[in-house]
Subunit: 354 residues, 2 copies
Amino acid sequence: MATLIENTINMIKPLDAKAMDKARARQNLLTKPEGSLGRLEDLSIQIAGIQRKTIPVIHHKAVITMAGDHGVVAEGVGNWPQEVTAQMVENFLIGGAGVNVMAKQAGARNIIIDIGVATEMKPNPKLISRKVAPGTGNIAAGPAMTPEQAMKAVETGIEIVNDEIARGLDIVGTGDMGIGNTTASSAVCVAITGRKPSEVTGRGTGISDEQLKHKIAIVEKALAINRPDPSQPLDVLAKVGGLEIGGLAGVMLGSAAQGIPVVIDGFISGAAALIAISLAPQLKDYVIASHVSAEAGHRAMLEYMGLSPLLDLGLRLGEGTGAALGIFLCDTAVKVLSGMSTFAEAGVSESNEE
Amino acid sequence: MATLIENTINMIKPLDAKAMDKARARQNLLTKPEGSLGRLEDLSIQIAGIQRKTIPVIHHKAVITMAGDHGVVAEGVGNWPQEVTAQMVENFLIGGAGVNVMAKQAGARNIIIDIGVATEMKPNPKLISRKVAPGTGNIAAGPAMTPEQAMKAVETGIEIVNDEIARGLDIVGTGDMGIGNTTASSAVCVAITGRKPSEVTGRGTGISDEQLKHKIAIVEKALAINRPDPSQPLDVLAKVGGLEIGGLAGVMLGSAAQGIPVVIDGFISGAAALIAISLAPQLKDYVIASHVSAEAGHRAMLEYMGLSPLLDLGLRLGEGTGAALGIFLCDTAVKVLSGMSTFAEAGVSESNEE
């Protein structure tokens, strides 16, 4: 394991229990019945613990979307041609994609990374070019990438988030783009959670029953050929993962190391979280699951990690769209904690319960 | 039935099917797999039908919070003194309450109405004073209000929303404040849905097991003494309802009559929706359930009306806090429909599925 990854993992501390206690105490002074804002109260307390502040602050928000291609598309696992990955990156850059609209709604900036797009991308000041490789190998025939590339992908994610922290960052969302990446994510899920391919392989962007059978067979083949070692998360990433999956795992580790909450999106971010949390179990407390995706297998991932999703809206777009909604909820939770009056401030009588 | 209420009900048309078809067609041209934004896509199509526009517009947003007191507090159904209703209204006016913070987050203005607070309120330019009565009668001993007051409460809600429409309104959320109003809402729920008091009476702001037993007995008593006629929603309102419940029912009717989507909050808004939808079944398509409350009985209300909540975050504060989150989701859904690029605009290849 490279020094940057090790060092980053070592920097991830347990949440600040004192800050959480104080945030919880403040929630109970605010002009509302105790606990009446449910998950929003819990979120504000968790973020207090992550940011190590009694009253956390969310000014700077970003959704980091990592794009990479997947050699497994050669097996016909989906209906979309590989060039769509690059085309969608161009769409992100002109602001026409779902994540652009939804990040803007949440007041978050979009950070777009080419970490492994097969196509050579035109230079664009809005695109961060950190291509580790022009796509992965076909996991149904061999490993996705070399062990060195797997490390490099995770390191890239750490470096990217460190750069964003230097620009100002209080909360980060993760997102993905990569034709074929639900197949890789299913394979990662099988390798780490031990579930059957048929349980955690879904329809991705929308495939028929017959295509789904084929996709499950490809996931089975990928695992049989590559035999990833579940005790070695970077081996799983190298054998059956993806470059954007590795990059997002790095974003998660890097954010947690700096005390920044990470709001994860759906199935592909879930695969990245499986790898990152397997590398650093203490990371789990820094991760907020924005939603449970309509993609089969996502719920299994969240259950394995012990994460409870905020939303269940049948989303399955990826890109960071669900994460953007999650960031809005976190921001709202924090604004409630910082912005509401206490009973004393507002001159409101308290419950005579005690 | 008064003319204003009748006229308003008669103005509520079926949703515009053509606008919905066109909105659905546009959703399928946007740069994402069909249906991949789940409930957000459905919401945008519903709002297109409500606003009768292919691409709906949400600029002006408001959360209308109606405050009223309840004579049933004399029975000791909760832990909070009655004066808290007026104190919380003051808190709304200084911007210190949950709904203030959360409406601001959603970009919605707060409209605060005294429709039945027992305390005489100090004049305040931010407070709309439309007191129908200084609180209701004790429903465990007699009717909540006269038939005339029930009509007046609903008419007041219609007038309030018409005034707001004149100021500019594209979507509205409903909220409530009223110590004792979960008891009245449970009674309304029993009267209309036919559920047992024990099934739909909850802990409100937080009461013990013993207090809950007492509260259920009070709901049973209210129904036994008043015998509201479930086929006459205004009779239910007059016998066991509340002034803010009537006002919110009026807001719902008035909004739908003008083609404006209504995002309802939790249990008390649910009671208002039961009355309003019983008066005008075609209203249902205009109502968006923001969340399912932690208050027992709310899920039963939503099921009875055939409404599926957007959120399940354990909220039980009321005021319109959940509605504010719902408005944000509606706004996001509409911005996706209007703001995303189509495949043709973005130069992205489409799925080769067909």
